[in-house]
């Protein structure tokens, strides 16, 4: 059962129960929806982008604890960051979730996102943890209003 404890850490359970920045962002100038057609989970990510900088950020939707916690942590981590920061953090998170050894995670600035490391033992749940991130990237690119995990 230790893998379960590793997956459902207190920080994740807390962000699931009380997701941060969980509302529509009235000042948003970018948004994108992410859906996981396999499970019907859906998230909308709102961004207020000023030039290269994410001034404010929020999300709405429904999903499992992993999806919600990852989205909530993402909004906390990315406020005030640049596009390049966001891309780099996504790459680091992806490496963390998939156990990709080619990415050096020692100075990645994952911070609190480290709590998602337990997802690695549950490959089927990686899509849950990245759903909101894919929506965030689509919102930054503003090329597609909806992205899918498939």
């Amino acid at each position: 059962m230790s893998e379960l404890t590793e997956l459902y850490q207190e920080v994740i359970l807390d962000h699931n129960r009380r997701p941060r920045n969980f509302a529509k962002l009235e000042s948003a100038n970018r948004m994108a929806e992410g859906i996981n057609p396999l499970c019907g989970d859906q998230v909308v990510v709102y961004l207020q982008l000023d030039g290269d900088r994410i001034v404010d950020m929020s999300f709405q939707g429904y999903g499992c604890a992993i999806a919600k916690a990852s989205a909530s942590l993402m909004t906390e981590q990315l406020k005030g960051k640049s596009r390049a920061d966001a891309d780099q953090l996504f790459a680091a998170l992806h490496a963390l979730l998939t156990g990709d050894p080619s990415v050096d995670l020692s100075e990645d600035g994952l911070g609190k996102l480290e709590v998602l490391a337990g997802v690695r033992e549950f490959p089927i749940r990686v899509k849950c943890a990245t759903l909101a991130w894919h929506a965030m990237r689509a919102a930054l690119r503003q090329d597609r209003p909806q992205v899918s995990t498939e």
Binding site: L7, C39, Y62, C64, A65, I66, C128
Partner: protein, 419 residues
């Protein structure tokens, strides 16, 4: 915790020989994540008895040849084995004639065949197809495609909070515009057994034929297509303890005779010239190309096995299991069962306050308990009940009360994690 009150009687003492039946299913005898496997995802696909596995292996080892073609001995044996299954399916669902049994890849292909061959050639603009709010996507999307192709309209029978179809609303939807009714015999999410015989009679009084999606019904109920008087009936082998990739579509011979082929190719022809092709007779007109011969032969073994267990004894046992599981799950605080129809097959969908079905699925799996979590390919029904997803435990005749208890213990553990 509520677990302490769950002291079930061992099932082996009952009239139904579940322990002996479990021994017929090799896959059940294993541990998953260190716990004995509790397989409760039978509505997705059922496990296979050894006799089905052996039949597939023996077919390939001893008889493999293409059917209805060559003169040689193996081809003769393969053809006989394939056609014997057609007779078994005819008998199993009490069709009048083996020509009315068409082998397909599964329920989905059976419905698509009826949609593209029957509905598309018969319906015109302004006509209506009626489905219900509890259909699987495979009994929605094929009809939407036809509607787009011919300009027809899809009408939907609503369900009530218990998960029963509103038959009075259905009565109101029926009209001279109704050209086809397509219904689940048993709901894959709610377990509801629909009053299809009555609904077929109502459709026929308006001259509309009825297709039944029998995927969830054939593993649990005795199906008699002549007593039901349905016009089409589709089901899959793999939910009936048979191989994947094969199923059957029953159609009344007079309808099938009039229908154009679904696919072109070998087998479905009588003669071909570049000017004109004569189609083969029923059922071969609808079986283009080399079919899943081994799968069909395996389905025959599965039907024999189910007949030997006895559908009425198995159905009775499954019903006891359903009642027991319903009681045990309903007693868990915060758990709500979705689908409380009076007539149900052994399927229980549920949601738990504050726990998403996927998280539940992961935690149960760590306890060796396999359930389905998600929208069950029935997104409109999920919307009807206002939930993005449910957890679903579905029981077969090899499941036991002890396994229901294991499910409940695992649910308790999940509630503890999410406290």
């Amino acid at each position: 915790m509520s677990t302490g009150t769950r002291m079930s009687q061992p099932t082996s003492g009952g009239a139904f020989p579940v322990q002996r039946i479990r021994d017929d299913f090799p896959v059940l005898n294993q541990r998953v994540n260190g716990q004995p496997l509790v397989y409760l995802d039978n509505a997705s696909t059922a496990q296979k008895p050894r006799v089905v596995i052996d039949t597939l292996s023996r077919y390939y080892a001893e008889d493999n040849a293409n059917i209805h073609r060559a003169i040689h001995t193996l081809a003769e044996r393969a053809t006989q084995a394939y056609e014997r299954t057609r007779s078994k399916v005819r008998e199993f669902i009490n069709a009048a004639d083996s020509r009315e049994i068409i082998f397909v890849r599964g329920t989905t292909e059976g419905i698509n065949l009826a949609a593209q061959s029957y509905a598309r050639s018969v319906l015109t603009e302004g006509d209506e197809i009626i489905v219900s709010a509890m259909e699987h996507h495979s009994n929605i999307v094929p009809w939407q495609l036809v509607c787009q192709q011919v300009g027809a309209r899809l009408r939907v029978i609503p369900v009530d909070d218990d998960g029963e179809l509103l038959v009075d609303e259905y009565r109101r939807l029926l009209s001279e515009r109704t050209k086809l009714v397509a219904l689940a015999h048993v709901s894959n999410v709610l377990g509801t057994i629909n009053p299809v015989k009555q609904m077929i009679e109502m459709a026929h009084s308006h001259g509309a034929p009825v297709l039944l999606d029998g995927a969830q019904a054939v593993p649990h109920l005795r199906v008699d297509v002549r007593d039901l008087d349905c016009d089409f009936y589709a089901f899959s082998s793999h939910k009936l303890y048979g191989p994947t990739g094969v199923g059957a579509l029953y159609g009344k011979a007079d309808l099938l005779e009039e229908m154009p082929p679904y696919q072109g190719g070998g087998e479905m022809i009588a003669s071909v010239t570049f000017e004109k092709t004569q189609y083969n007779v029923l059922p071969y007109k609808f079986e283009a190309g080399t079919p899943n011969i081994a799968g069909v032969v395996g389905l025959g073994a599965a039907i024999d096995y189910v007949q030997q267990v006895g559908l009425s004894a198995a159905g009775g046992y499954e019903h006891e299991l359903l009642d027991y599981a319903t009681g045990v799950l309903a007693a868990i605080p915060g758990l709500q069962i979705i689908g409380t129809a009076r007539e149900k097959a052994s399927v229980i969908s549920f949601v738990i306050d504050g726990i998403h079905a996927h998280d539940l699925g992961t935690i149960l799996d760590q306890h060796g308990v396999a359930i389905r979590a998600g929208h069950h390919c029935a997104m409109p029904l999920m919307q009807r009940f206002g939930v993005p997803a449910t957890a679903r435990a579905s029981f077969a005749f090899y499941n036991t009360r002890e396994e229901v208890d294991a499910l409940a213990r695992a649910v308790d553990a999940a509630i503890e994690v999410f406290g």
